[in-house]
C-alpha cells in the first residue's frame, strides 16, 4: 500500500469514527427532546410478531388450533400495544413521539430509530387492527403453521416500515415485506398464483432498486456536507440539494412508492396480485401494503425533497387524477369482483396522491385519513367477496344473481361498505374524499374537478356490481342454497363496520392527531421551497412569525382568496370545523 493511500485510509477511518460519534450524539439528543419513555412501546410493537413467528416455528405442525391461536393471540397483543401507543400519543404535537434510537449497523450508518407521529399513527393502528381480523377471516386450511409464520413476519415488516425514522431501516422493512407476501400469494393463492406472485415481486423489487440508489445517494450527499453518515430522516431533511439533484432523487423515491401503492401507470402488477392472493393476502395487500407507497410519498417525498415536490406536484397530481379516471373506467368493465376492487383501489389511491400533492393542510390531512379509511372499507370488501366465493366458488359477477333474498344481512353489510367506498356522507370514505377535494380545489382547481368525476364513476361501477350480485331474481339453474353470514363472519366484519360508521360521524379525534403533524410537514415543505430572506431592519421574531403565518406561501395566499367559498360549503357538513386553521398552528409553534 502506498503511503498516500495509507494516509487516505487513516483519514477516512478517523472521519468515520468522528461521524459515528456525532451521529450517535445527534440521535440521542433527538430522542430526548421527543420525550423518550421508559417503556419502548414501538420496539415491542415491531418485535412481538417476530417473536411470535419464531414461537410458531417450533410448535408441532399438526397442532392446527394451537398454531392459529398463537398467531391470533400475538396479533391481538400487538393490537393491545398499539392501543397503548394511541393512548400515550399526545394530540396536538406535530413531531415524532416515543422515539427510540439505537445505533445498529454503524459502518454503513443504519440505526434502529423508531418513532410515531400523526401521519403514521393511524397506519400503525390500521395494521394492528387488520392482522388479527385477517387471522380470523382468512385463516387458511392448508398448512396453517407456515401461513401463520408468514403473516406474523409480514406484520413485523409492515409495522416496522411505518415506524422507522431511519430511511434505510424503512427500506429494509419495506423490502422485507415482499418475501412473506410473495410466499402467501404463491402458496395459498388462486389459479394463476405463481405468475402473479413473481410479477408482484419483480415489479416491486425493480422499483425498490431506484429507491435504494436514491437513499444511498441522499445519505452520501448528506455525508459530504456534514461529515456524518446517517440515514436518519430528521437529519437527512436538512440536506442541501441542487435543483436537478433534488428532482432526480425525488423521482427515484417516487418510482418505488408509485409501484408499491400502485399509482397509475405503475399499477400493472396489482390487479393480478389482488386477484390471485388468498383473502388474507388481498386484505393486507390492499389494506396495508398499498399504504406503504402513499405513506412513503408523504413521509419521504414531501419531507426530504420539498423543492422537487413543489416543482413536480403538477406531474404527480396528473398521475393521481389519471389513476382516478382510468381506475374507475377499467373497474366499470370488470366482470371479476376482485379485479373490480383492485381497479377501484387504484382510483382511491389516486385520490390520496392528489391530496398529498395539492399541498394544503386539508388535502394532506385528508390523504392521511383516507389511507386509513381505504384500508378499512377495502378490507371489508375483500372479506365480503371471499364470503361469496366460499359459497359459490366464483368471483364472476355474471354468475352471481339475486343473493339478497337468501342473505339479506350480507347484502345490507355489502351495500354499507360500498357506500363508504363511494363516499356517501356519514360514512368514513366521505370525510377523507371531501377534505382532499376541498383542499385540492383551493390550489389546483382543475385537478379537483377531474377527481370529482371519479367520485361519480365510483358510484356507477360499485352500485352496478352490487345490483348484479344481490338484486334480481335468483338464478334458477343454481341449486346450492346461499347461506347467510355466520357469526364468525359477522365478528370479522363488525370492527370494520363500527369504525367505518364512527369515522364517518365523528372524525375529530383522528384529525386532531393527524393535523399537527401534517402542518409541521407542510411548514417544512414551504420553508424549504420558498426560503424567506429576513429583511433588513425587521426584528427576527417578526420575520419568523410572518414566515410561519405565510405558511403555504403561495399556497396560503390562494387559500385566503378561495377560503370563503370553501368554508361556506364545508361548514355545512361539519367536517371543516375539525380542522384547526393551520396558519394559526404554525404561528403558535414558531412563537
Amino acid at each position: 500500500m502506498t503511503p498516500a493511500a495509507a494516509r487516505l485510509v487513516a483519514a477516512h477511518g478517523a472521519q468515520v469514527a468522528a461521524a459515528h460519534a456525532a451521529a450517535h450524539a445527534v440521535t440521542s439528543a433527538l430522542g430526548e427532546t421527543a420525550g423518550e419513555r421508559a417503556f419502548p412501546y414501538l420496539t415491542t410493537l415491531v418485535l412481538v410478531p417476530l417473536g411470535a413467528a419464531l414461537v410458531v416455528l417450533v410448535l408441532p405442525r399438526r397442532q392446527h388450533l394451537l398454531i392459529r391461536l398463537t398467531g391470533f393471540a400475538a396479533s391481538l397483543g400487538v393490537l393491545g400495544i398499539a392501543a397503548a401507543v394511541l393512548d400515550q400519543f399526545q394530540a396536538g404535537y406535530g413531531g415524532y413521539q416515543m422515539v427510540s434510537s439505537h445505533p445498529w449497523f454503524g459502518a454503513v450508518g443504519i440505526s434502529w430509530s423508531l418513532g410515531v407521529d400523526g401521519i403514521s399513527l393511524f397506519l400503525v393502528m390500521l395494521s394492528a387492527l387488520l392482522f388479527p381480523i385477517a387471522f380470523v377471516g382468512g385463516s387458511e386450511r392448508a398448512n396453517p403453521k407456515v401461513f401463520t409464520v408468514w403473516m406474523l413476519l409480514l406484520e413485523t415488516a409492515c409495522l416496522g416500515s411505518f415506524l422507522s425514522l431511519d430511511v434505510m431501516l424503512f427500506f429494509l422493512f419495506f423490502e422485507a415485506s415482499l418475501v412473506p407476501v410473495y410466499f402467501i400469494i404463491a402458496g395459498w393463492g388462486h389459479e394463476e398464483r405463481g405468475s402473479a406472485a413473481t410479477k408482484f415481486f419483480v415489479y416491486t423489487f425493480l422499483g425498490s432498486a431506484f429507491l435504494l440508489v436514491g437513499i444511498i445517494t441522499l445519505a452520501v450527499f448528506h455525508q459530504s456536507q456534514t461529515g456524518v453518515l446517517t440515514f436518519d430522516v430528521r437529519q437527512l431533511a436538512s440536506t442541501h440539494l441542487s435543483g436537478p439533484a433534488g428532482i432526480a432523487l425525488f423521482l427515484a423515491f417516487t418510482v418505488a412508492f408509485a409501484v408499491k401503492a400502485p399509482i397509475f401507470p405503475f399499477h400493472t402488477w396489482s390487479p393480478s396480485a389482488y386477484r390471485e392472493a388468498p383473502v388474507a393476502g388481498s386484505v393486507i395487500l390492499a389494506g396495508i401494503m398499498a399504504k406503504l407507497g402513499t405513506y412513503g410519498v408523504i413521509r419521504f417525498d414531501l419531507g426530504l425533497f420539498p423543492h422537487a415536490t413543489v416543482t413536480l406536484a403538477p406531474l404527480l397530481l396528473s398521475l393521481g387524477a389519471a389513476g382516478i379516471i382510468y381506475g374507475a373506467i377499467v373497474a366499470a368493465v370488470q366482470r371479476d369482483l376482485k379485479r373490480l376492487v383492485a381497479f377501484s383501489s387504484l382510483a382511491h389511491l389516486g385520490f390520496i396522491v392528489v391530496g398529498a400533492f395539492a399541498l394544503t393542510g386539508e388535502s394532506v390531512s385528508g390523504a392521511v385519513l383516507q389511507m386509513a379509511n381505504h384500508g378499512l372499507y377495502t378490507a371489508a370488501l375483500f372479506f365480503l367477496i371471499a364470503m361469496i366465493y366460499r359459497r359459490r366458488g366464483t368471483f364472476d359477477v355474471r354468475r352471481l344473481r339475486g343473493l339478497q333474498r337468501a342473505a339479506p344481512i350480507m347484502a345490507a353489510v355489502f351495500i354499507l361498505v360500498v357506500m363508504a367506498s363511494i363516499g356517501v356522507p356519514g360514512l368514513n370514505g366521505f370525510v377523507g374524499e371531501f377534505l382532499i377535494l376541498a383542499g385540492t380545489f383551493l390550489t389546483h382547481r382543475w385537478w379537483a374537478v377531474v377527481a370529482v368525476i371519479g367520485v361519480v364513476l365510483a358510484a356507477v361501477y360499485l352500485l352496478w356490481a352490487y345490483q348484479q350480485v344481490f338484486h334480481g331474481p335468483q338464478d334458477p339453474s343454481e341449486e346450492r342454497p346461499f347461506a347467510e353470514m355466520t357469526w364468525r363472519e359477522g365478528a370479522v366484519l363488525a370492527p370494520l363496520l363500527i369504525l367505518i360508521v364512527f369515522l364517518g360521524v365523528w372524525p375529530k379525534p383522528v384529525l386532531d392527531r393527524i393535523t399537527p403533524s401534517v402542518d409541521a410537514l407542510l411548514t417544512q415543505v414551504d420553508r424549504s421551497a420558498h426560503p424567506v430572506v429576513p429583511l433588513a431592519g425587521q426584528p427576527v421574531g417578526a420575520t419568523s412569525t410572518s414566515a410561519a403565518r405565510g405558511h403555504g406561501g403561495t399556497v396560503a395566499a390562494q387559500t385566503a382568496a378561495l377560503g370563503a367559498a370553501a368554508t361556506s360549503s364545508a361548514g355545512a357538513t361539519g367536517s371543516r370545523q375539525v380542522l384547526r386553521p393551520h396558519g394559526g398552528t404554525a404561528a403558535r409553534r414558531s412563537s
Binding site: 449497523f105 454503513v108 444511498i216
Partner: protein, 574 residues
Amino acid sequence: MRSAVPGLAGAQIHSVLSLLHPHLLAASTITLPAVDYTTILPELILLGGSLVLLLVSSVTTRQLPTETYAAATIGLGTASLIVSLFLWRDITARGPLSAIANSVDIDGFAVLFLVLSSCLVIVGALAAAGYLRREGIGGCEYYVLICVSAGGAMLMASANDLILIFLGLEILSIPLYVMSGMDQRREGSGEAAMKYLVLGAFSSAIFVYGIALIYGATGSTNLAEIAAFLAHNVILHNGVLLGGMGLLLVGFSFKVAAVPFHFWAPDVYVGAPTPATGFMAAIAKVGAFAALLRVFVSSLPTLRSDWQPVVWVIAVLTLSLGAIVAVAQRNVKRMLAYSSINHAGFILLGLQAATTRGVAGSLYYVFTYALLVVGSFAVVAIVGGRGDQGHDLSNYRGLARRQPVLATTFAVLLLAQAGAPFTTGFFAKLYVLEAAIDNHSYALAVIAMVSAAVAAFFYLRVVLTMFGAPETAGEEAVEHLSVLVPQPAGPAPLLADSVTLGSGAVATMTMSETRAALVADPRGTDDLGPTPLARLGVSPWVATALLCTAGATVLFGVWPQELVDFAHQATLLF
C-alpha cells in the same frame, strides 16, 4: 526475486555478464532472503497437509473411507483458520508485516482472505463428502486438490509481488482444472476440464505478458516498488505500462469470469462435479479478486483515471449479461453460473470506486458470496441425484414437500443471493452501492440494482418451483396413484396426513394436488433414474455445510456489524 538466478545457468551467465558490465557482477551474487515461515504458515499447513494426505493414502493398503479424508481436510482447514486468526491478532497489535524480501504482505486485507479461504476449505470438504460417497469417488485426491487450491488463493491474497501472484494463480488454478474433470463417467466433465485448462493456460500467458510489460515500464515486479516508482516518476509515453495493465486486467477478468472473458464459465460450471463447481466458483473469485484489488488499488492508483472507465464498462457488461442470460436458463446449474457472473459485476463495483469504502465493500461481498455459492451448489448436488444429472428446473418441483428443510435452506441461500433484506446478500449489495454512489457512479449503481431486480426473478423462479404445486401432474398422476396405493375407505384424511408438510411454505392442498404430490413429476422421475429423489437422504456432512452457510447468511444478515467491521478494519490495515 529478480536477483535469484538459478545456480548452474547463473554461473555461466555470470561470466558473460561480468564482461559486459562490472556492476552486474555484484548484483549476481545470490543471497536468499530470510524466510519468515510464520507469515506463510496457513499456506504451509494446507500445502504440507495435502502432501501428508497423499502419502497416507498411498501407504495404506486398504482404501480409507472418504469421510476420513474429509475429517483430515477439515482439521487442516481449522488449523489454518486458527493460525490466520492469530496472525490477525498479531497485526492488529503490531501493524502489517512484510516478509520474505517484501514479496509477502501480511496485512488485514490478506488475513481476511486467509480466514475466508480456510473457511472455504472446511465448508468445501463438508459439502463434498456426501457427494463423493454417493458417486463412489474414493481416494483423497479431491480433498488434496481443495487444500492446494485454497493454498494458492491464500498466496495470491498475501502476495506483494506480481511473480508471487502469478505463482499463486497457477497453484490455485491447476487443481481446479483437475477437479472439474474428476467425474470420469460424464463426458461433460472432461470437456469442462479441457476447456478450462486451455482457456486458463491462455489467460495465464496473457497475465505473464502483462507482468513483463509492467516490469519493463517500472523496473520492478514488487507492488510497493511499482507504486513508489509511479508516484515519483511521470512516464511520458506510457503505452507499455498501460498495455501491461490492460493485460493484467484481462488475466484477472478471465479468472473472475467477467464479461467479455466469461465464455468458459457456464460450460465449466455445468460440466464440473457439482460440489467442485461450488468450491471453484468461490475460491477462484476469492483469489483473483484479492489480487485484483491489491494490484489495482494499492499498486496502480496513479493510473486510476485510465483503468476506472475500463472497469466501468466491464462491470456494466458483467452485471447485465449475467442477469439477462440467466433468465433464459432452465438448467439450475447453468443459471447459477450466470448468476455468479452477475455477482462478479457487483464485486467490480467496489473496484471501480477505488476507494477504501469500495475495497471494504468488495471484501464484504466476496466473503458473503463465497459462502453463499458453496452452500447453493451443495444443495444442487443433492438434488442432482446419483449421476449428477438432474439439474433441470423440473427436478425442483415440489421439493418443499419432499424435503422441506432442504428447500427452505435453499430458499434462504437464493434469497440472500437476490439481496433480500436481513441476509448478508443485502448488506453486501448495499455496501458496494454506497461505494459506487460515493464515487458519483450513479448510472452504474442504477444498472447494478436493475440487474439485481432481474436476478431476483430467476432466483424466485427456483423458489417458486420448489414451493409450488406440481403443474404437470394432473389427473394422470391421480390415476397413477390409485394403482400405487390401495384405496382406503376414507381416502381424504389419510392421504392428507401422509404428505409431509414441514416448515416450508406449502401450496394449497386441494385434494387432487395432495394426491399428485405423492407421485413425483413424471419428467423428474425419468431424469432421476433408479433413485427417486424422495428417498435421497442428506448426509450429515452436507447438512453441516448447509447449516454453516445458511446460518452465517442469516446471522450476519441480522447482526452485520462484526463482519462489516472485519472488512472495514481489513482495509484500514491494508
